[in-house]
C-alpha cells in the first residue's frame, strides 16, 4: 500500500506548495512570459514553450531513426546480428543523463555552432515559412541543441518499444502478404506496420514522457535564458525541468518558491496523463513484456 500512498503524497505535497502561486496567478501563469523574482510576477509560458519545442524536435528527429532501426532489426537484418545490435542500441538507455550533458556541452554544441546550424541556415533557413525556425545567430546553446540531445536520449526507448511491438506481430501477417507475391518491404509496409501502429505510437508517446521531464542534459545545453517566445530554434531557452533545476535552490520568497513548485505540478500532471496514454496504446499491441525490458 506504500506505493499508491507515495503517489498520493507526491501529488498532495506538490499541490500544497504550489497553492500560493496557483491562487495568485491563476491562468495567467500559463499565458504570460514575465518571470520576475524581484517584482514577484511569475508567468511560465516561456518555460512551457521551451519544453514543447525541445520535445517536438526530439520526437521528430528520433522517431524515424528509431522506427527505421527497429524495422531493420526485426525484418531485414541477418538473423545473427539482430539481437546483439538491438542490445547495443538499448545500451544508450543506460548512459546517465549527466554524461549525455557533458558530451553535449563539449562535443555536440561546438559542432552545432560551427557546422550544423550555419548549414541549416544556408539551406532550410532560406525557405519562406519554415526559414523563421532557423533565424538568428547560431550559438549552439539553444533550443535546437536541447532537442537534439533529447532525441539521442529517447532513441533507445523508442527503438526498444517499436521492436517489441513489431516482434509481436503474428508471422502469418507477413506470410500471407508474401504468399500473394509481395516483396518483403511491401509486406512490412502494408501488413506489418499497420498492425503495429498503435504500439509504435505508444512508444513515441513514451518518448515524449521521457523527453519533457528530462533535466540535466537539457539544462546543460539549452542556454537557460528566459527570453520571450520568438519562434526560432536558434535562441537560448529554458525548459520547465531546467527552470526547476536552476532556480529551486535560489528561491528566496514564498511566492517565488511556490511558482517553481507549480512547474513541478505541471510536470507531474502531464507525466501521469502521458504515461497512462502510452501504456494503453502499447498494451493494445503486446499483451506481456519480457522481464528487464527497457520500458
Amino acid at each position: 500500500m506504500l506505493v499508491p500512498l507515495t503517489l498520493v503524497a507526491i501529488t498532495v505535497l506538490i499541490l500544497i506548495d504550489s497553492w500560493p502561486a496557483l491562487t495568485t496567478f491563476g491562468l495567467t501563469y500559463f499565458t504570460t512570459t514575465e518571470w520576475d523574482p524581484v517584482k514577484l510576477v511569475f508567468g511560465a509560458a516561456a518555460y512551457v514553450y521551451g519544453t514543447l519545442v525541445t520535445t517536438i524536435v526530439a520526437v521528430v528527429l528520433a522517431t524515424p531513426i528509431a522506427v527505421g532501426a527497429a524495422i531493420y532489426l526485426t525484418e531485414f537484418a541477418p538473423r545473427a546480428i539482430r539481437a546483439p545490435v538491438a542490445f547495443t542500441i538499448e545500451l544508450l538507455a543506460y548512459i546517465p543523463s549527466i554524461v549525455y550533458g557533458l558530451w553535449a556541452i563539449f562535443v555536440m554544441v561546438p559542432v552545432m555552432r560551427s557546422a550544423v546550424e550555419p548549414a541549416l541556415q544556408a539551406t532550410l533557413g532560406q525557405l519562406p515559412v519554415i526559414g523563421k525556425l532557423f533565424s538568428g545567430t547560431p550559438i549552439g546553446l539553444d533550443l535546437l541543441s536541447g532537442g537534439v540531445v533529447l532525441a539521442i536520449m529517447i532513441l533507445p526507448i523508442l527503438m526498444a518499444v517499436s521492436r517489441e511491438v513489431l516482434l509481436a506481430v503474428p508471422p502469418t501477417q507477413r506470410e500471407a502478404m508474401i504468399g500473394l507475391g509481395a516483396t518483403r518491404w511491401e509486406a512490412v509496409s502494408r501488413a506489418v506496420l499497420p498492425y503495429a501502429r498503435p504500439g509504435i505510437i505508444g512508444g513515441a508517446v513514451l518518448g515524449v514522457a521521457r523527453a519533457f521531464g528530462e533535466t540535466m542534459a537539457v539544462t546543460m545545453v539549452v542556454g537557460n535564458s528566459s527570453r520571450d517566445i520568438s519562434g526560432s530554434l536558434f535562441v537560448p531557452g529554458y525548459t520547465m525541468a531546467s527552470a526547476i533545476a536552476n532556480q529551486f535552490v535560489e528561491a528566496d520568497s514564498e511566492l517565488y518558491f511556490s511558482a517553481i513548485v507549480e512547474i513541478a505540478l505541471v510536470l507531474l500532471l502531464v507525466g501521469i496523463i502521458v504515461n497512462a496514454a502510452a501504456r494503453v496504446l502499447i498494451r493494445r499491441s503486446i499483451s506481456d513484456r519480457p522481464a528487464g525490458a527497457v520500458v
Partner: protein, 295 residues
Amino acid sequence: MAAVSAITPSSAIPSRHRVAARRRIGQSVVVGLLLLATALAVALLVTILGYVVVRGLPAIDLAFFTERPRPFGEPGGGIGPALLGTALLAAVSGAIAIPIGMSAAIFVVEYRSGRFAAPVRFAAELIAGLPSIVIGVFVWALLVRGLVGHYAAIAGAVALAVIMVPIVARTVEEVLRLVPNSLREAALALGAPRWKVIMSIVLPTARAGILTAAILALARSAGETAPLLLTALGNDFFSTDLFRPIAALPLQIYRYAVSPYDDWHTKAWGASLVLVVVIGVVGLLLRVVARQRVR
C-alpha cells in the same frame, strides 16, 4: 505510392518485368535507408562512449579515486568522496527500495484477486514515468524542509528509493509470474499457508530474477543527478553522516563540467568514465545472472 500500382496485376507481360524490377529497386532503397538509421543509432553510442573513454582516461590515476576535490589551482584532487557517497546512497536507497518493491510485486502477483492489486500496479507504473526532478521536489518538501530540516544524504537516498521502487516492483513482478503455478498448488495442497508458500517456495525459486531486479534498479539510480541536486546537495569532503549533505558521482561530474576550468573538465570526463564503467560492470553482472536464470 508507386508500389500500390505494383501490386495490381498487369496484363502486359513485358511491363510486368519492368514493374518487378522497380519493386526490387524500391525495396533495396528502403532497406538501405533502414540500415542507415540502424548504423546511425549504433554510431551515436560508439561516439559518445568513445569520447568518454578517450577524454576520461587522462584524468584517471590512483589519486583520482582516493583524493577529495581540491579548489581550482591546487594540483591533484579527485572523486573519492563522490565514490563513497554514491556507494552509501546506493546501499541506503537499496535497503529502502528493494523490500518495498518486492512486497508490492508479491502483493500484485500472489494476491492478485485482492481489491488493491490493480491500484498498486498502476501507481507503480505512474511513479516510474514521473520526471525525476519532480521526485526531487517532493523529497525536498518532505524531508529537506520537513522531517530533517536541511540538505542530507538520507533525503538523497529516499529520492533514489522512490525512483527504484517501481523498477524493482515491475521486474520482480515479471519474475514471480514465471514461477510455475503447479509449485504453488503443490505446496498449498500439502496444507502450507499462503505466506509460507511465498517464503519457502516462490521466493527461493525466483531468487536469481529478484537479484537481477535489484541490480537493475541500482544501476538505474546510480546515474540520477537532478533529484540529488535538490536533496543530497553534494559535498567536497568525505562524509558518511546520513544527516549531512553528501557527495555523489553524478553531482561531482556536474560541478566539474559547469566550471570554467579545462583541468576540471578533464576530471568531469574522468568521473563520467568511472560512472559508465561502474554501470557497465553492473550491467554485465545483470546479463550473467539473467542467463543463469534461463538455464
